[in-house]
Subunit: 208 residues, 2 copies
DNA sequence: CGTAAAAGCAAACACTCGTTTGGTATCGCA
DNA sequence: TGCGATACCAAACGAGTGTTTGCTTTTACG
């Protein structure tokens, strides 16, 4: 059986028949992502979300059993977009540093341009939604494991802590959401700058 | 006239007489910082804050005209603590890199240990509180100017973008609030690691 | 076509939110 | 000691919150 678009398995009430074509679930998700990104989880109300697509508050509960479940769906989609973008980006290169740079560029372009879903992942803190905090963290950790492997592959001088390097890089990238303004900066060059600042230790003082 | 403790000028209703000794404003501020840090601005309710010190919701409005004004007071105090810690720390050293490292250590220790007030500065986004967003940004910018000067003083190879360096460093430091767990890590060594990862370009290829 | 499921409407529910208003102990000070 | 400002209490306000319940329209499918 085909895996389908992955959005189709999100609703909690499983249809036994195919979804109808006038299904507005995609619009709901898009608007939810937009609202969560702009206002954060608590400040974004159900009425904000559904009102933007002329739907009534109660109607949302046909698609999701709770506001938390809605956030989880948006968050999962955000993580999926990050993973997809980065996976595709690193496939092109073989050299460890080039792969890391490609990953950072893809991460930042997804975060700062393709927007909304990805921004929610960086914006919303799992601890803000205790009921699903563990699931949010698990999703994010799954994605960041990609970077763990990329950093692991780097040829570094001994004594360089790879965990610190990963945390520093991802932290700097994610924090850019705070100060980034389109037009003035662009994601690609920011990511390149950041990687370049770390690349000073030359490759392979030891085994690859 | 003495400058006083700087908390005394916070209330919006200016007393013409000295404050009474049973004044619980300090406790209100401390609890507000605690709540804003733990839950964020929107999720932390007035009742959460005053309830923790057995005060009634309405009583807060003797000290502050609005919830936003309360946040502004907490935020300003947080920025003040950052500034004070970092200013004191960089006074001890003269060498540019040592000063930057000292600043980062002080920043991170303030953020991750002395806690609450400082954490609010990193946790709460100005855009979450539009009415005072501009003032929050101004406060933070004033503090971060400290780092701009520290980075400016570094002897760097030409072609190294100082703005990127500053943004990367502060971003990585601030993001640590997300993953830091006391006991496992400690702020001092984290800050040292981060600075070390950037220090590879040797001092003064050019003028000091 | 007819029918069952899908998708959403309409209206309310109980609750919490920030805030206001009027009153009152209590303290600092002359 | 008395007076007035200080620092609250007590109780409510209207608006907004996530969510539920019963009903209705629309669609895909046999």
């Amino acid at each position: 059986m085909a895996r389908a678009s992955s959005l189709r398995r999100l609703p909690a009430t499983r249809p036994v028949r195919a979804a109808r074509s006038d299904n507005r679930l995609p619009e709901v998700l898009a608007q939810a992502a937009r609202a969560f990104r702009a206002k954060g989880y608590d400040a974004a109300s159900i009425r904000d979300i559904v009102g933007a697509i002329d739907m009534l508050p109660g109607s949302l509960y046909y698609h999701f059993p709770s506001k938390e479940a809605l956030l989880l769906a948006v968050y999962a989609e955000g993580v999926r977009r990050f993973s997809e973008a980065v996976s595709a980006a690193i496939a092109a290169s073989a050299a460890p540093w080039a792969r890391l740079e490609a990953a950072c560029i893809a991460h930042l372009e997804t975060l700062l341009q393709e927007s909304d879903f990805a921004q929610v992942v960086v914006r919303v803190r799992p601890s803000d939604v205790p009921a699903i905090a563990a699931q949010l963290v698990a999703l994010r950790d799954g994605y960041e494991a990609l970077f763990t492997r990329l950093v692991q592959a780097l040829p570094l001088a001994r004594g360089v802590d790879r965990r610190s390097l990963r945390l520093m890089l991802l932290g700097a990238l994610n924090w850019s959401q705070t100060w980034y303004r389109g037009g003035r900066d662009d994601p690609r060059s920011i990511a390149r700058q950041f990687v370049a600042l770390l690349r000073q230790q030359l490759d392979s003082e030891r085994r690859s």
